[in-house]
Symmetry: C2
Subunit: 184 residues, 2 copies
Amino acid sequence: MRYKPGYKQEKRKELLQISGQLAKQQGFAATGVDGFMKAAGVTSGAFYSHFSSKHELLKALVEAELQQSLAMWQENPHDDPADWIEFELNRYLNLSHVQHADRGCVLPALASEVARSEDDVKQLYQQELLRGHALFTRHLGCEIKAWGVLCQLVGAITLARGMADESLQKQIIESSKTFLKANL
Amino acid sequence: MRYKPGYKQEKRKELLQISGQLAKQQGFAATGVDGFMKAAGVTSGAFYSHFSSKHELLKALVEAELQQSLAMWQENPHDDPADWIEFELNRYLNLSHVQHADRGCVLPALASEVARSEDDVKQLYQQELLRGHALFTRHLGCEIKAWGVLCQLVGAITLARGMADESLQKQIIESSKTFLKANL
DNA sequence: GTCTATACGCGGATAGAC
DNA sequence: GTCTATCCGCGTATAGAC
């Protein structure tokens, strides 16, 4: 056998990692299978030995990316609620996150594409988002506030990314941060 | 001459109206020129006598749609700040807006596509959004709050549209509304 | 101003060699 | 498991008739 056992699983993980970056940056629909695979250093033919269709890639991507976001939220070292949320706001609401979607959270990056996808993709997105909401609720002590913060985070990044001027991007995310800090 | 003077201008307006609905529903990139024109009852050939390219259509669309949103905000009949904002929250944050993107605000519908577009589209988007922000600032008496509300509105609709279950869509927008009302 | 026809490239997916 | 080659459909854009 020319390939070690376990190789396929590792390769799949690598493909998801690289495809995720590309999808968040350029958009999933806007990127061809060729583009995803070229970024990973293989050809489109190899793609279909890992995923049965492009749609399956989207599902795998949504799942992997959201679990990654969840993992980051869980790695927050603070216990005190005020410290915990301040840490998250600073990590999420900054210029680097606005300008480097490829390294950022999948929620704002692929939200509209998920919204326009089949139900199975939305089910996955919903399921993982609910885990995130539960996590925020634990730290904020309130379900309403948890949704409020999540919406605010996604909205701020989404709006800021549509701005042409960096100064305005900064104004939006800083205002959003100030607004949240004043209301938690 | 087989066509009345002024006809072209009217037709262009009609094309923008119908294309706007389709773009907000299916996505701008995901819809072909054929699709836009078929919805308007003409063929793709006719398209190019109104717009020089698909990219020009996007620019015209962003401008027309944002001005329409701005107009709706200006039609709010209330003077009292609390009444004014409550009216807007109820109009924006409801299930119908989540489920019928074609009749809804362009901000959440095309945000990601604008973010991934050329600079000229972003400039337009930015310019019109700033007018909206100025309007909200006048009624809320605070620039920070104005950005906070705008981000919250966009984020809530964006997230809710990715949910598979209607009950969860409702939970998100109602939570977002409650969160805002408690903090203004 | 709108139509039909068409050129041309890209994207998704499959077949078969290695 | 990955490669090259290829089929086929769709999308942007243009040319020329009416």
